[in-house]
Amino acid sequence: MSMYILSSHEIKQLAEELRASHDVYGPQVDPQTQQVFFDQLGDVDALNLEAPIPSMPVKEILFPQMEQVLKYKYDAETQNVEMAKPYVEKPKVLFGLRPCDLSGIQVLDRFFLGQEFVDDVYLTHRRQCLLISNTCLNPFPQCFCVCTHSGPDADEGYDLDLTKLQDGYLVKVGSEKGQALADAHDWKPAQAHHLSEQKAVVDRCIDLFPEMATDNKAWVARVMNRITTGFVKSETWEYIGDQCFECGACSFVCPTCSCFNVEDARMCDGECERLRTHDSCSFEGYARMAGDHNPRQPVEDRRNKRFFCKLSYPQSKKYLRPGCVGCGRCQWVCPGDIGLPNVVQYIRREITE
């Protein structure tokens, strides 16, 4: 694995250069609201690698909230169907991914591409994607990636990985694609001391995590055990269920939630579009089966399904890591108080009582 050291200017240059051949996405701050979005860059100057964790997960780019996945027109007289594929492949760079979002992409890859069926829509968005991750120098409010093995630095899955050091950005190469990019440039190789400096940066960041997160580290594993073996008391799930407002927000902002709904809608001129939209296990209609049976009708049963998905061994085997990446976004958006770290707390409280 080769390593280089680049100045901030060279980083911007790289982004600018990539823009010629790619759609470049990166963190940027909305000037009016100060909210951070990981979105397409109209101008490289908007790229802000020091911005806090983006408010929406990067999955929006690969698996958007709503997307047209098919267009068709059926002529009843001639019984002729015309179909068209509305999604297109575009080379993309995801520049400055936080390690949690990178882990999220890995989980989505394993769900959409790594199983029996390969999802063509996701594959199309994902195929020509250059992933450039960015080490977190300090945790943001609600972050707990130290508990879920997904930060503050990335250890796999990237093409290039950036860490801001005193001399500039340490650039680690993580793939052949990344190496090819490095080879095409005359970047300055990094020294051994840069690597130890990076380690120190990461250690310092870990120290800065709030006690709740570091304290929870072992507890996440313990709670996974409890959830997998079904030892969580029903009262605890009911306590959690009572706080669920059934808004679906936790699923929409989760970097690893991959459930979707498909709906055909008529457009004008007899044309139809097939839409794919995000879906959430917190909704009652989500689990309904034919014949009106609903195995998860009470809200607490729907809620615990979410935490089974994020924190049980069988799920983790599927994703090759826990389903939770510790970004803490579910905690921000929940009108109740049942973001994942809190659920861990509630179960932990039950264990220690």
């Binding site: 929406m56 958007p64 407002f245 929409f252 709906e263 009108p335 109740g336």
Partner: protein
């Protein structure tokens, strides 16, 4: 540097006024993100807000003006459709009550204001009303009497700081979920949250204390709380006492003193000792927030009077974190009132339509998202109906002329939330059909009828609003674009410093149930059935959630308690005959819910035929909203 694809705006569904980002390329809306810096919603949205993108990209839009010809609507140009409206409207005498206006609680202030001008100055009519205004008028009247201006006292952000929060009646986590979430957060930080509600709603579960009173006795309970507070005050003479100088105080106190604890307990099922205990907490609180729902499912006037009186009696209403807020179900219900398009007593369009001998002959309607069109028969017999809306709707069938309108993100507009917070949404998507905004459409109609208004844009309309609407003087589009809105200023009302008690009557509500009709039926509501669903039915996921209920209970349902179900020997989804004391009957499925009290029953008010057929004899009950109770019997089908 502005973001390419995310545009901040205000959610246009309920009266909370949450901040949201729309993900859009300027042509279509692909997604939604919550707005973290928003002072009320703080980065949270409910199921409806999260699916705004589905509503905004529905194909179920009105895209062109239309004219009815030989019974069918056909596409027409603006010129043709406007000319027809002008020609027909000239045939009616507005001053004689022949023209009615049915305004929308979802329209922007700009559209509401210009619609008012069109009605008053061009059509010459005062016969008007807002789609979902029913209960809001009572809230406004009670608040105006108490605080001197028709609007909320205080801000929704008070919930985040107040010591004590009293939630009266409303199923707020369903109706205004983000306010419900803020209350839940307040409870967690240590505020005392008390709910008065006959059913075990989610907010009741999340409250510090839930008083589960018998139906119809919320007002009595609020008055009893006032009585207990007054008793503490009398014992504790150190209180400063401007309160007793306020007009209406002696009568109010006399009424309170007449409350009998025995009669209270018999009527409400709540012991006065429990109320006394609660009053101690109320007495201790420095800042207090009162919340009740307003609008179509709001409270009756005596209950709202009891609430405003208790608020004044606490003597905490000058604290910056105190508030009395009628929580509106629709985005701009408050703003539409402010713009002067509500139906004042004596010239209500609803009354004109309901009275068979009223002179009304023509109707101009905007939006009307309710699934139920009341007085549909009468409307279908009018000489002329014009309808304007962004979405296709059952009202189109009744209209001779139909106009499209832009969706809320396709034009600039301001909206006034339940707590008087005026916020702006800027256009972030081009309407693909070049549809005129409401104010521009009304201006063109006015122009063709000989009146020139001269508005260039929505900001220009707003400048006129600021000049004429009390409280809006300090506001402008430029000012509102800077932050997250601003509350309109109550000081513009001459009586805003004067506080008065409303007159109350202590009545011990007698349940209308009888041995023959033993169940008290109430009209309930649920999350996905928001405003009878014309909008939610145009989404994908919320519609599925709605259909989920309909699939399970295709004939609709009546919620009863498990004990009553056992007694009636019925199980969930079994059909029963429900008969009311006036003789109307319906066949409906049972839904067993532990959250319902024994002897009470709920039907959701969104299922069309249930409401219109079963409740027609109960016109008043429907208008009384949450407090309406109908005696029924339930029998095996």
């Amino acid at each position: 540097m502005k973001l390419m694809n995310y545009k901040a705006c205000v959610c246009n569904l309920c009266g909370t006024g949450c901040g949201q980002f729309l993900k859009t390329d300027g042509k279509k809306v692909f997604g939604v993100a919550p707005l973290i810096a928003h002072p009320v919603s703080k980065g949270k949205l409910c199921i409806r807000g999260w699916h705004s993108n589905e509503l905004l990209s529905t194909n179920d839009r009105i895209t062109q003006p239309m004219i009815r010809e030989n019974g069918q609507l056909r596409e027409a140009s603006y010129d043709e459709a406007i000319a027809l409206v002008v020609e027909r409207m000239k045939q009616f005498d507005g001053a004689a009550g022949e023209i009615g206006i049915l305004a929308s609680a979802r329209s922007s202030n700009e559209d509401g204001f210009t619609l008012g001008r069109l009605a008053h100055q061009v059509f010459g009519t005062r016969i008007q009303g807002i789609g979902a205004e029913a209960g809001h008028r009572k809230s406004m009247a009670a608040l105006e009497h108490a605080f001197g201006y028709p609007g909320a006292h205080g801000s929704l952000t008070s919930i985040d700081k107040a010591d004590y929060i009293l939630v009266i009646g409303t199923d707020i986590t369903r109706q205004n979920p983000i306010i419900g979430g803020n209350i839940h957060a307040a409870q967690r930080r240590g505020a005392r949250v008390v709910t008065l509600s006959s059913s075990h709603t989610q907010i009741a579960k999340l409250s510090t204390r839930h008083f589960r009173q018998k139906p119809g006795t919320k007002g009595l309970l609020v008055n009893a709380l006032a009585k207990a507070l007054l008793a503490i005050r009398t014992a504790n003479r150190e209180r400063r006492a401007d309160v007793d100088q306020m007009p209406g105080y002696p009568e109010y106190v006399a009424s309170l003193r007449s409350i009998s604890s025995v009669a209270l307990e018999r009527a409400s099922g709540i012991r006065y000792e429990d109320i006394e205990e609660e009053a101690k907490f109320l007495e201790q609180a420095r800042s207090i927030v009162f919340l009740f729902s307003s609008g179509i499912s709001g409270l009756d006037r005596p209950t709202i009077d009891a609430i405003t009186n208790l608020a004044l009696l606490t003597d905490r209403m000058d604290h910056e974190d105190s508030a009395v807020i009628p929580v509106a179900g629709i985005s701009n219900l408050q703003g539409s009132f402010d713009m002067g398009v509500s139906g004042e007593p004596g010239n209500s369009v609803f009354k004109a339509l309901a009275e068979p001998d009223s002179p009304i002959r023509a109707l101009f309607v905007v939006d009307h998202d309710d699934g139920i069109i009341r007085d549909k028969e009468r409307i279908s017999r009018l000489d002329f109906v014009a309808y304007a809306c962004a979405y296709k709707n059952a009202f189109m069938d009744l209209a001779q002329v139909v106009f499209p309108l832009p969706a809320y993100n396709e034009t600039d507009g301001t909206y006034t939330a339940a707590d008087r917070r005026v916020q702006i949404t800027h256009k972030n998507v081009d309407n693909p059909h070049g549809v005129l905004p409401g104010w521009a459409l009304f201006q063109q109609i006015a122009g063709k009828m000989g009146q020139s208004w001269g508005y260039q844009d929505a900001a220009g309309v707003f400048a006129d609003i600021a000049a004429t609407v009390p409280g809006y003087a300090d506001l402008s589009h430029a000012q509102l674009s800077k932050g997250f809105g601003q509350h309109w200023n109550p000081k513009a009302f001459p009586n805003s410093r004067q506080r008065k008690f409303n007159a109350i009557n202590i009545e011990y509500w007698e349940s209308p149930t009888t041995p023959e009709f033993p169940f008290a039926l109430m009209i309930g509501k649920a999350q996905h059935y928001w405003h009878q669903n014309n909008l939610m039915r145009k989404t994908i996921v919320p519609r599925r959630e709605y259909d989920q209920t309909l699939w399970l209970y295709p004939q609709g349902y009546i919620e009863i308690s498990p004990e009553d179900a056992a007694h009636l020997k019925v199980r969930d989804k079994w059909l029963v005959n429900v008969c009311s004391s006036t003789g109307t009957c319906m066949k409906i499925a049972v839904k067993i819910s532990p959250d319902v009290q024994n002897g009470t029953a709920y039907i959701p008010y969104f299922i069309k035929n249930m409401i219109s057929d079963f409740l027609i004899p109960y016109e008043n009950a429907y208008a009384a909203g949450e407090e309406s109770v109908i005696p029924i019997k339930i029998q095996e089908a």
